[in-house]
């Protein structure tokens, strides 16, 4: 069965930890990190990477354009 596998890459230094992507994610992949970036913001990261299907919702609502989304169809056994 083919399945859409997604992944996101967050530009940690431009993320301001507004958590709009956390709200927008339909599969609860994203969370804010306990660590902070250079500006003191708790940046977003993939807390649950297996659930990501690359829907791009997080990147669409991100005000700082710091999320890059990857998606690939993978054949699963």
């Amino acid at each position: 069965m083919a399945k859409m596998i997604g992944a996101i890459e967050v530009d940690i230094e431009t993320c301001k930890g507004c958590s709009l992507c956390v709200e927008a994610c339909p599969t609860d992949v994203i969370a804010l990190a306990d660590e902070v970036n250079g500006k003191g913001y708790n940046y977003a990261y993939m807390a649950n990477p297996d659930a990501c299907n690359g829907c791009t919702n997080c990147a669409l609502v991100c005000p700082d354009s710091c999320i890059t989304v990857y998606r690939k169809k993978v054949e699963m056994a």
Binding site: K16, D50, V61
Partner: protein, 255 residues
């Protein structure tokens, strides 16, 4: 699974990345500000239409005054409220260019009301983007013409009272009545679906400019989480509950 997630992070699998029209400068906006989303959509539309070197923007006064640092197109900075006047000059002198003005509610609907209404009435060929968050964000959260009845701001701390403070102004409905506008719409950017619709609206506004048939006006109902004293997620919820009943989303005019 974790290996697959890492493996697919290659250029050929990219489905969304930062627009090339946006510069590398980090935006100065507060976390979660709607300005960043609208800047991104504007950049994406300009990139997709391939009009980066044919677009001239007019920067406003307000929080988004530094928009000329964030989008790599030609810019002019207007005096407070006078972006439509400057946009008129640019579109008349350079009719081969796409002109876009970008203003907030204090800029477009208060000090610039005359310029807005007359530019739209004359039907100047430009795209006007209007960010309506019901407050003066940059100067400290004062009451704007678009502040809702009962909404708190630093100059109406007990909520706006129409008896003393006047009624909120629906400037978008006003410009929709004018013969010079060819496309007037009100959108928002609080969810992914709304962002997609707003992008389509901005794209349509730019497409309309190809025919030179008048002003295209896109209002984006936005949040100001610092001014509203809420976090970004609560601001979006508050906007849905309170702003949308008074400022309903959708196309108001399309000719």
């Amino acid at each position: 699974m974790a290996e697959i997630t890492e493996d697919i992070k290659v250029a050929e699998n990219i489905v969304h990345k930062k627009s090339s029209v946006l510069t590398d400068k980090v935006m100065h906006y507060c976390p979660g500000c709607s300005h960043g989303v609208v800047h991104k959509l504007l950049a994406e539309v300009i990139e997709e239409m391939g009009i980066q070197d044919k677009t001239i923007g007019v920067a406003p006064v307000g929080c988004s005054v530094f928009i000329y640092n964030y989008l790599a197109i030609d810019w002019q900075e207007a005096a407070h409220g006078r972006a439509p006047a400057l946009g008129t000059a640019i579109s008349r002198l350079r009719p081969d260019r796409y002109v876009v003005t970008y203003q907030g509610d204090g800029d477009l609907a208060a000090i610039g009301t005359a310029e807005t209404i007359h530019a739209c009435n004359r039907g100047e060929n430009m795209v006007m983007i209007f960010i309506n968050n019901g407050i003066y964000g940059m100067t400290g959260g004062q009451m704007a013409p678009t502040t809702l009845e009962g909404m708190k701001a630093s100059t109406c701390p007990f909520g706006r009272d129409p008896k003393t403070d006047g009624n909120p102004l629906k400037i978008t409905e006003i410009v929709a009545q004018l013969p010079g506008t060819n496309f007037v719409t009100r959108q928002a950017v609080h969810t992914a679906a709304a962002v997609r619709r707003t992008k389509k609206a901005i794209r349509k506004a730019f497409e309309k400019q190809k025919d030179k048939t008048g002003t295209s006006f896109v209002e984006v109902v936005s949040t100001c989480n610092s001014g509203w004293k809420m976090n970004p997620v609560d601001s979006n919820n508050w906007m849905e509950e309170n702003m949308f009943p008074f400022y309903p989303l959708g196309d108001i005019k399309d000719v």
